[in-house]
Amino acid sequence: MSASMQTADSVERPPLPPHGWSRQRILGYGLVVLWAFMGIGLVAYLISAWNTELFQKYAPGYVSGIGITLSLVGISIVVGAILSVPIAYGRMSRNPVIAGLAYAYVYFFRGTPLLAQAFLVYYGFGSFRPELDAVGLWWFFREAFNCAIFAFSLNTAAYQAEILRGAIQSVPKGQWEGAASLGLHKLQTLRKIILPQALIVALRPYGNEVILMIKGSAIVAIITVYDLMGITRLTYSRTFDFQSYLWAAIIYLLIVETLRHAIDWIERRITRHLKR
């Protein structure tokens, strides 16, 4: 009797909070210290490798590289957003031909690497130079930067179309029916009822898409655009100084982290009315 009471006692007692140096804590502190050492090592290396002459020579290039990266992503995202509307409409269409075409477009651009798409435009369109000359478009595709914008816009349009479609379809059907019963026509319903709700759902995927584009834009360095990555490769090929890559890494991390926190802040702000 007393034995069973004792076991019941010991079972019902809440688990003791971990104290002292458990194996997990040792491992965790070890890893954090390792990260800290790597961070200190990075800073120490950058200070020891500091070279004012080099900095003055290449820093302006980095600044213009950041500008090119950001403008490339900015233009592509905006053009892609415009293109994504008809594609999303096509994906939701009941007409099998339109829906099929939109599906094929999205599947192609999401199923092939961005690098292959950029090559296809930059090198591939050169095969059609006479034809492009005849239409008067060759000046556009002669520039690597324009080719990158072209490829990136088509690519992000496919992703953004899926985001838009997912967000619109996440709004319950009753919202459409309710608006219809109030006598709103379809376009009004979309603009005043559906989109405000859908955009809240879409904000996070859109933010992720912007971040993915910034990271993906590094590949334009391979097709000779001097964005941040391109400048970095150029600097490395001239100086063979590994810090050129480390600076690029720091800048990319700063851009991405800033964006991520900005998106978090916007999301918190526009969902204030949903919090209880």
Partner: protein
């Protein structure tokens, strides 16, 4: 001017055999990266769902860094960084030595690290979907911590994480194309060589894109087969 079909034939005249070899390299790289990425990703996820704060912090730093860096930059950091690092280590013993780092291994490490940081998020959300009662049930029937993980949690975890991991696999397959930038003869590199020699750039890069598309389609078929199989396992219970 050769015809399109001669260019795409198998053998010395055409380029299909070269591109097929590139496809083999691409698939091998992706398949070799997958287990590395899954293992590291799982360990990072374990760290991030641990009750120990320092472990969570270490895991978060890892994910923040490798999800924030462009894949191409990670690749270059690994490729050139490893080259310089190993070279300096070797020069301590043999000052004349020059070291060439294998681009396949660099690609495997870089892509594996990127894959694992995304996979850890997938595993983490799967961990959160498994109720605490599953662990408690495992302990209650007398299983040890490791046994509970292996016999009770892991089978459910894989089932929940599968769609997310399938997505990451498709992304990995596409990211292997970046390794062509450090000289691995994958699909895109071979297509580029063919394009430069024959001046049929659109044709060969188009073929390369279609091969990636075909790999994606084959993968989706395989993935849905695995999902069906896993679903059936569940139905048996």
């Amino acid at each position: 001017m050769q015809s399109v079909w001669t260019l795409l034939s198998w053998g010395s005249e055409g380029w299909l055999d070269d591109i097929a070899y590139g496809a083999l390299v691409t698939v091998c790289l992706a398949l070799a990266t997958l287990p590395v990425g899954l293992l590291i990703g799982f360990l990072i996820a374990l760290a991030k769902q641990s009750s120990e704060r320092s472990l969570r912090l270490a895991g978060d730093i890892y994910t923040t860094i490798f999800r924030g860096l462009p894949e191409l930059l990670t690749l270059f950091l690994v490729f050139f960084g490893a080259q310089i690092g190993i070279q300096q280590a070797v020069r301590l013993f043999n000052p004349e030595a020059t070291v060439e780092v294998n681009s396949f291994v660099s690609g495997m490490i870089a892509l594996g690290v990127v894959f694992s940081s995304y996979a850890s998020e997938v595993f983490l959300s799967a961990f959160r979907a498994i109720p605490q009662g599953q662990y408690e049930g495992g302990f209650a029937v007398g299983l040890s911590k490791a046994q509970t993980m292996r016999l009770v949690v892991l089978p459910q975890l894989i089932r929940i994480a599968l769609p997310g991991l399938a997505n990451l696999w498709l992304i990995l397959l596409k990211d292997t194309s970046l390794v062509s930038a450090i000289g691995l003869t994958d699909i895109l590199r071979q297509a580029g060589v063919a394009a430069r020699v024959t001046k049929h750039a659109f044709l060969f890069f188009g073929v390369a894109a279609l091969i990636y598309l075909a790999l994606a389609i084959v993968s989706s078929i395989g993935i849905s087969a695995i999902e069906r199989w896993v679903g059936k396992q569940e139905a048996h219970r």
